[in-house]
Symmetry: C2
Subunit: 156 residues, 2 copies
């Protein structure tokens, strides 16, 4: 995978989360995931087509999801993820990917994105097929994590 | 959602499954899913962009997944879904969606598809955001089911 594709994902994630929560998440160590992976139990999946094809999975620890949904809903305290907060999380993913698409377009890499789908479950494992996955960990307020897994198709 | 979009999904699913297994699945009652939905515990998700945007989730009962993977691997008996058979199931979804794209193109509806991702977990719930979902149940050999859930964005 071309590493120059990854920076727009990082930049967009940080700036959208900063805009929504007022806190800029710090960037953990970006790494290549070689094996099939279990993600956090709350994930939003957004597809990519165009010059680069793949799926992006944004997964949240429950605390991060609650913190972000609460901030997006004007600071209303939340103790569980209800329908409105799930919808806020999906919208966050949509904004991150829309922003990423704009940044990529500025580098002449045209992509199109699908609407987001929220995936929840226990022992969740998402396995992109024939794609390499780069994982971008973001840390919000100490120990709330958000992981952006970018799976892009390997071109022959 | 425009119902004319749905027939190519049905036609492609039936013909690809027929080609891969030698058995034409019968079509159950197509219906609109109004609520957030739990799907079977093995699902493949493929994104759509272009003239119609959304996500298609093809979910399998464990028996259907094993039966199809076994047929795609030359009839080798399978008792559990290993990595090769998961990859066969993903490839089936990819072929169904590729075939659907071709049929839609023949109707001047140009779409692009993402590579497939396999989603497994317990108590799996996949919630497309701001999309209407049409569910296409297919029945293979009596009681093996495959469900094709087509979620497309509502245009304003």
């Amino acid at each position: 995978m071309n590493v120059e594709y990854i920076n727009p994902f990082i930049e967009a994630s940080q700036s959208v989360i900063m805009m929504m929560t007022g806190v800029k998440p710090s960037l953990g160590k970006v790494y290549i995931k070689n094996s099939f992976f279990p993600s956090e139990n709350i994930a939003v999946i957004v597809g990519l087509t165009g010059k680069i094809r793949g799926q992006v999975i944004i997964s949240f620890s429950e605390n991060s999801a609650l913190m972000i949904a609460s901030a997006m809903m004007g600071g209303m305290p939340l103790t569980e993820l209800d329908e409105i907060s799930k919808s806020a999380i999906s919208e966050l993913a949509n904004m991150i990917m829309g922003n990423t698409a704009t940044l990529l377009a500025g580098r002449n890499i045209g992509i199109d994105i699908t609407p987001p789908s929220l995936v929840m479950g226990e022992k969740l494992v998402i396995t992109p097929t024939n794609m390499q996955t780069i994982s971008i960990p973001l840390i919000l307020n100490g120990d709330n994590t958000i992981e952006i897994d970018v799976s892009l198709e390997d071109k022959e």
